[in-house]
Symmetry: C2
Subunit: 138 residues, 2 copies
DNA sequence: ATCATTTTAGTACTTTAGTATGAGACCTAA
DNA sequence: TTAGGTCTCATACTAAAGTACTAAAATGAT
């Protein structure tokens, strides 16, 4: 919200500045009206593109982006998160162990801990929960 | 691609039209330069917003849309697809059976068939594959 | 009505997943 | 140095998942 207000304030200021430049250049007569209009058009086209880009960025970070803070809040450790990612990739405990060079037993421990921390009954449930919590890509 | 070319053509045409209007209004002296600049700024701001909006829209429909045709191509039946959806919701075979009012044995049959059709080793793998194939929401 | 497909369900079995518990190794902050 | 957390691994167990069949009932199109 604060960001939006800031952006619009800057926008209005820029508009006023452009008014001044436009008037000044017009009065001096050393610049064609086409040039001024072209500059203004380009600037605002850029502004329009930028505003939506930032909107999209904030949207995607809010919808598909990964919430690192939430991972910590849930008490999920680095290793556990790695395991979670491999689970969502469809790997078995054995395969995850081979990939991370640790035993299947250790993976089972990590998975059990993950299920508790994500309040999930199964690994498929954990995937669904993790997506809901936006801690893994969907 | 064709759409992009069309959009930019319209953009250039609009720019030329605005040049003419600007020059005309300027010569007639019945419109202030601020007004013209304001209009142009607004128009191009709108254009900038529109261009990014359409880009986002096409992106999301291409990434989150469900490909019904692909489901048929894979030979996945209606019932099997229902089971697939419940798997991705994190339910167990027993829970899916209860929800669809059929036995767990039947769910197992459906799941086995799904794994073959999706070329998956496990149900978690099936979820990942189904998302990759854009058969389920991700 | 017949053929093909789907849906349903079962048995018997193997494999994978998950729980509970204990314990050693490691690192870091108090 | 000790306390807390993470990471590791193991054993023993229960539960769930998955495979490989077989087969009956329902559905739907020709």
């Amino acid at each position: 919200m604060k960001k939006t207000i800031f952006v619009f304030s800057v926008l209005i200021l820029l508009l006023l500045v452009l008014f001044q430049i436009g008037e000044y250049a017009f009065l001096m007569g050393d610049t064609s009206i086409e040039f001024i209009i072209g500059i203004i058009a380009l600037v605002f086209l850029g502004i329009g593109l930028y505003i939506n880009r930032s909107r999209v960025t904030s949207d995607s970070s809010g919808k598909t982006g990964i919430d690192l803070k939430k991972i910590k809040d849930l008490g999920i450790s680095e290793r556990e998160y790695q395991v979670l990612l491999e689970i969502s990739n469809g790997l078995s405990n054995k395969e995850i162990g081979d990939k991370l060079y640790i035993s299947e037993s250790t993976i089972k421990t990590h998975v059990s801990n993950l299920l508790v921390k994500l309040d999930a009954k199964r690994r498929t449930h954990a995937i669904q929960k993790a997506k809901e919590l936006q801690i893994i890509a969907g």
